[in-house]
Amino acid sequence: MTEKNLVLGSSVAFLKSELDLLMTDLRKNGFQTVGPHLQDESIVYSKIDGLKDLPRGILSEQNPASYRMIQTGKDRYFDFIPGSQSWKQFLFPPRHTLFTAEKVGKWQFVENEDPAPRYALIGVRACELAAIQVQDKVFLRDDFSDSIYRSRREGLFILAVNCLDPDATCFCVSMGTGPRLAAGFDLCVTELDEVFLVEVGSELGRSVLASRTFDLPSAFAQNTANQAMERATNSMVRTMDTTDLPHLLTAQLEAERWAEVGKRCLSCANCTLVCPTCFCWDATDHVDILGKSTRRERVWDSCFNPNYSYVVGGNTRPNIRSRYRQWLTHKLGTWKKQFDIQGCVGCGRCITWCPARIDLTEEVAAIRAEVKT
């Protein structure tokens, strides 16, 4: 097969080593390649150069408050399910300078616009892509468009990967976001033992793939891939009953379950940090000791932060019960009304990384049960 036959929707097969060359090509074109990387016994998203930086042969096993890695020894790179980090750190950086100002007589701004980096995200899962699409609706709106997010989003290259081995905390099937990728990527990879199957999702993806060496996938390869994806969908154990979901929670603000989960929740904010759609932020001034120069910085914030709802005269959510209720009724309820899309993508991170083992699928089921009685 040659590049002349490549069109949108084309599917090819290439050797795994081609991925190295593809990433080099991306870098030559000005992209920073970032992806999963084993560091300090965790899978993080950071700068990667090629296959050597990917977590080779790693399989993951997740449960509430538990993430384990198993070394399979296989020459496979995407069997694990992503860890605590998500891609939002690249589009919505945890810390970012909004502006700096100096007092020279009067206050004035200091110009220092760094150009936005162009990222190539390597290994985006279906739930993660869905999360990016949710954040698109949050950050890019008619009435407000976040220039930091937009500049990074416009330059983005997405190499997505189909999940073949969901973990026990995944519930993307219930949320309608996966595990199979449909659209929204530049290239989409399904990993087989010997090769990567690659689907073209955009013109950018097509042009990047065109310089590689690839072949038509064999019928056997296509079959194996399809069967693997079927298995993945069917093997998902965790579910969330989404019937009537926006309304169910917002109509149950006085349910007893909130007090019950409020006793278990530590308000540690882990869930909001690992959640790929959470978007709250704070802005703080960093001023020099003479008070003549200041830098205003945007940082991630969380509705579990005790000072999040501080107003003069008090705090509108002074206890954990009310803060947990806010998080869940927002994520699974009012978010839909605000942004016209469901806030949860079913990635299960909040379940894995909650030290108190709180499982939002269980909480929703408990409230549903409370309504019935």
Binding site: Y310, V312, G313, G314
Partner: protein
């Protein structure tokens, strides 16, 4: 002495009095008199023995309590058609718990509390109407007091950045 017709005309302006029977109205008017007070005139002091229950017809009367280091604190003003000094009609209070002073020139209807209590005791139909009205006065006063107690305009006790 103010003519009886004048008192009756004045009392008829007060909505509650129009709900009484003619006989009850006349008997009540008999134990009432009008007082014309200038700003600064005192109706009673804290500690005084009860004598009258008052209804403001015109002007404004302030109720106050003396608080050491703060002087006289005015905690309520009775406006036209407000009742003050109502505790003289309930049996438990022995003396005035606050002072009352006119802050503007006033016309006030004064009802003899002892005679009113007797009337209510002898005529339970009237007594019920009187107590019902007083219960409303106390309830309304309690509502105001609660909102004052909550001190809704108070500044915060701890603060952080806005």
């Amino acid at each position: 002495m103010v003519p009886a017709e004048d008192i009756q005309a004045a009392l008829q302006k007060i909505p509650w009095f129009n709900t009484l029977t003619t006989e009850h109205f006349k008997k009540t008017a008999d134990l009432a008199h009008l007082r014309y007070a200038k700003a600064g005139d005192i109706f009673f002091h804290e500690g005084d023995k009860q004598d009258y229950v008052y209804i403001v017809l015109e002007g404004r009367v302030s109720l106050d309590i003396f608080v050491p280091h703060h002087g006289k604190v005015r905690f309520y003003t009775a406006e036209p058609y407000d009742v003050f000094g109502w505790s003289s009609v309930t049996p438990s209070m022995r003396q005035r718990t606050a002072g009352a002073v006119a802050v503007l020139d006033c016309t006030v209807a004064c009802l003899d509390a002892e005679k009113l209590r007797q009337f209510a005791e002898n005529d339970h139909d009237f007594g019920y109407l009187l107590m019902r009205r007083l219960a409303n006065v106390v309830a309304s006063r309690l509502m105001v007091t609660r909102l004052q107690l909550i001190d809704m305009f108070a500044g915060p006790t701890e603060y952080k950045n806005d």
